[in-house]
Symmetry: C2
Subunit: 522 residues, 2 copies
């Protein structure tokens, strides 16, 4: 059972069922499989064989999905790349993965132009878009028309890698996460058992397809013979139109997308009643937003938590646990990312590796057939997180008596001051309530007396002002004294430094204060 | 992920949910896990470690389920034995498996007594029943009370064997099918995705727990935290009482059980409305029986097909395909065992290994993570059926254009006469319609002219009579001339010879006619 087998079965059993609908392109499963096999034939012709890397740098569309299955058919590795990365990061990933083929769409042509000279191993560039193929690139649709459907005998086993998924790299350079066919197929099982996708479901690719939250998370839709629809990149109006026109039943959003959607002026003009399940994850969902979303869309929300390294699903909080009113311990679960899904074991442990007591903070570790094989060509980094069969997530959490997890912080962002653990997120939550603060990050800085001291780095809103003392005092009204910043820096730029996927680069902020000191506390 | 992990998770997430209800014994998941770990402690104390075999010869009860999970916790192999086997077969299995422990209940004491001297490797006998433990045997409940919960560190990986499941042995001696933890866990996924068991489901163990149709097929209930209830052995009245009292929602029957149930005089006295899904399999379901069952119980029926060697699920026919009236090609599907389930690839191939055309007969072959590791200590028999990754079932079938399978016969029961393939089941179906015939089996016998000739062996109903020529003529009215028996033998006993699980031993019948001829055609 490999990733291609998921499509193979649906094409065999439901050849006439709608597989993809992407703009004017609509294919049933038989046609979609034919296109996938033709793409595999084309890739093979261009030299891609088992074990080779095929990089994809594109917005969401049906052709992206075709790359997922065509590479799987060949036993080649897909390398889906974040479209928002810098030139340096893109070049690094293409060279690090030694990709021999690269597919781009029209949005990526400018950046391709600027990195092309530095990309060393790519020997064919594929233009996977509508007309307008630049000279020197392979036209996707022409190549499919020319290529015969691939019918070679390739043994693609469950332990074989299916792809390299680069993590956004908030620490160090990007790392290529090797996910095997078993990782992706068992995640597909876990999703089907947990989410209950079924025949007839229509899924909308709303999150980027390079991300684990969407790409491999959409294989379950293929497994049930459901229909894929595509949002090239997130836009609330376009999302509502697709939901209405395609009768979308399931999708996955990040919280800010939900916020955009329900606050859109045209929200009431669209019929979204086909929706029966909305997954969300990636960042905490404010209770007020959740309440409003449930009022406007219905009790359809499921929160899930996972990582690239875990292919990705680890925990999930079903709609029935989204309780807005009632006993405190039920309402509190809105802040939980749920409980371990069937097939995965998740624990929260202290530094000795023992399960923490309820409400003590520890690190989330997990094991299961969905855990990555390792980082591409980084044995030390792999050994640091994969100890025995347990993957160490680096996420700090508490777990209640019923097994619900509450994530508190990334381990490396935790600050130890005067022997006390302080979670940067708690301090940041206090800072973000200040009306003058646009962005805030909290890091530990060296301190002779306390080991580390808490430093807030903030960007103020245009036209607002606040002093260091005012901000510290504001925090003291909300949280315990020792958790409050001892100093506040006002960042010179109009925003904090961020990674390609929008995460604040705390490592870079810390660097300024730790420069010259060899060892970080964490 | 191993078989024990399935229980571990439910005990962690749903400690207070009902796990088993067996007569007066009722345990929630926390209590049930505690008992399982104590049993593991006891088995370990008696010498069972990873890789050792623990045989179980019992009727259905919660203790049987405890053996499934306790052996998995230790990495030991459960050897569930058919309770209806002969003394010789039992002795063979215990010695062949080199089981070191054997658990029996009160029903099995007499047969244990008669084989005990011939059983060579068993060093401890466990009496897993209510009071009345015979001298020299370990009392199950005392042992659980004495043993500490097992907390040893044992690495039980997915490729490790979980058990030996002996096939009923209609040809040659019984063969021990080695099923790994991966086989059983992936079958659990396949069942959950296909059947849609869910939290709150109540399952009744109606088929024998030594059989793949029940034992490992009940792990999905544990995975969703559902409740197990038990019918010690099939009895229609007791089944209806349990369904009513325990609010059973899902179960698995063989067709004759359904027949007994709906024809029971007390059928209308029981409230069976809690049922939402009835699986059936193991033998063809006559259309008239299906119609009556759907009228009396509702459209709740799902047919499934699988083998011990495939852990077991391969194909399934959902309730929506149980159409009693309408277009011929829809109604015809009542005779189909359905289509391949997600996770398994099933093909019907000719002797050259090519897919047959619609309505041509071929052999069912399959691959997937649920396929057995092999037969215990029988490399030749393993090699004969496991070719590459494809398992050859020995079942002959047709497949229609939409992928629905129709089983026609066991390969070895097919007869080639004058170059034509004749499926014994088709001839037997014609014979069974004769009012005087109680039992019938059709085999090929040596024939100078035709290679093989068709021989019917029949048992007449008491008080009825029929001549050879009358029976042959009766068949000619129904089926093509060359498919009709050329001769009929009247079996001297009041029934045909059968295996422990009730299958007619055609090999034994054939023996009489082929004795002295070295080679069988098949």
């Amino acid at each position: 059972m490999n990733v291609y087998d998921i499509l193979r079965r649906s094409a065999k059993l439901s050849p006439e069922a709608a597989a993809v609908s992407c703009g004017r392109h609509k294919y049933n499963y038989e046609e979609f499989q034919e296109r996938v096999l033709r793409l595999a034939g084309c890739l093979h012709e261009k030299g891609a064989s088992k074990g080779d890397r095929v990089a994809v740098l594109m917005m969401n569309c049906h052709r992206y999905l075709e790359f997922y299955y065509a590479t799987a058919r060949l036993g080649a590795l897909i390398v889906p790349i974040n479209t928002r990365l810098s030139e340096g990061e893109l070049t690094y990933i293409l060279n690090d993965s030694e990709s021999s083929l690269l597919a781009v769409d029209r949005h990526m042509l400018p950046i391709l132009e600027s990195i092309r000279a530095d990309v060393k191993t790519v020997n064919s560039f594929i233009y996977a878009d509508e007309d307008g193929t630049p000279e020197g690139m392979i036209d996707y649709e022409d190549a499919l028309a020319d290529a015969g459907p691939f019918d070679g005998e390739v043994s693609v086993e469950r332990e074989d890698p299916a792809g390299l998924f680069y993590t956004s790299g908030t620490t160090g350079g990007p790392k290529g996460v090797i996910l095997t066919h078993m990782n992706c197929v068992t995640n597909t099982y876990h999703v089907l058992i947990t989410f209950g996708y079924r025949e007839g479901d229509v899924y909308m690719h709303a999150c980027p397809m390079f991300h684990l939250a969407d790409g491999p998370m959409s294989h379950p839709i293929t497994m049930v013979g459901g229909k894929h629809t595509f949002l090239p990149s997130f836009d609330p109006k376009a999302a509502m139109e697709i939901i209405e026109n395609e009768k979308v039943s399931v999708t996955l959003f990040i919280p800010t997308m939900i916020n955009f959607l329900i606050n859109h002026p045209d929200f009431d003009k669209h019929d979204l009643s086909s929706l029966r399940l909305i997954n969300y994850g990636g960042s905490p969902m404010p209770v007020e937003l959740m309440r409003k979303a449930m009022e406007k869309i219905g009790p359809l929300f499921r929160q899930s938590y996972g990582l690239t390294e875990t292919a990705p699903l680890l925990t999930s909080l079903p709609p029935s646990e989204h309780v807005l009113e009632g006993p405190e311990h039920r309402v509190r679960r809105l802040a939980s990312c749920g409980r371990e899904v069937a097939g995965v074991e998740v624990r929260v442990v202290n530094d000795e590796g023992e399960n923490v007591k309820p409400d003590e903070v520890g690190e989330i570790i997990c094991r299961g057939p969905n855990i990555m094989k390792g980082y591409w060509r980084k044995p030390e980094e792999t050994a640091a997180v994969l100890r025995g069969e347990w993957f160490h997530t680096g996420d700090m959490a508490t777990v209640d008596e019923e097994g619900f997890l509450f994530i508190v912080d990334r381990k490396k962002d935790m600050i130890i001051t005067g022997g006390e653990n302080v979670f940067s997120t708690e301090v940041e939550n206090a800072l973000y309530k200040h009306p003058a603060i646009l962005e805030a990050a909290v890091v530990g800085v060296p301190d002779e007396k306390w080991g580390e001291a808490i430093k807030a780095v903030v960007v103020l809103r245009e036209g607002h002002s606040a002093t260091e003392q005012e901000i510290i005092d504001y925090c003291r009204e909300q949280i315990t004294h020792y958790k409050c910043p001892r100093s506040v820096d006002f960042h010179p730029d109009d925003q904090l430094p961020k990674s390609g996927s929008g995460k604040i680069l705390k490592a870079q902020l810390r660097e300024k204060y730790w420069g010259g000191q060899g060892r970080r506390v964490h």
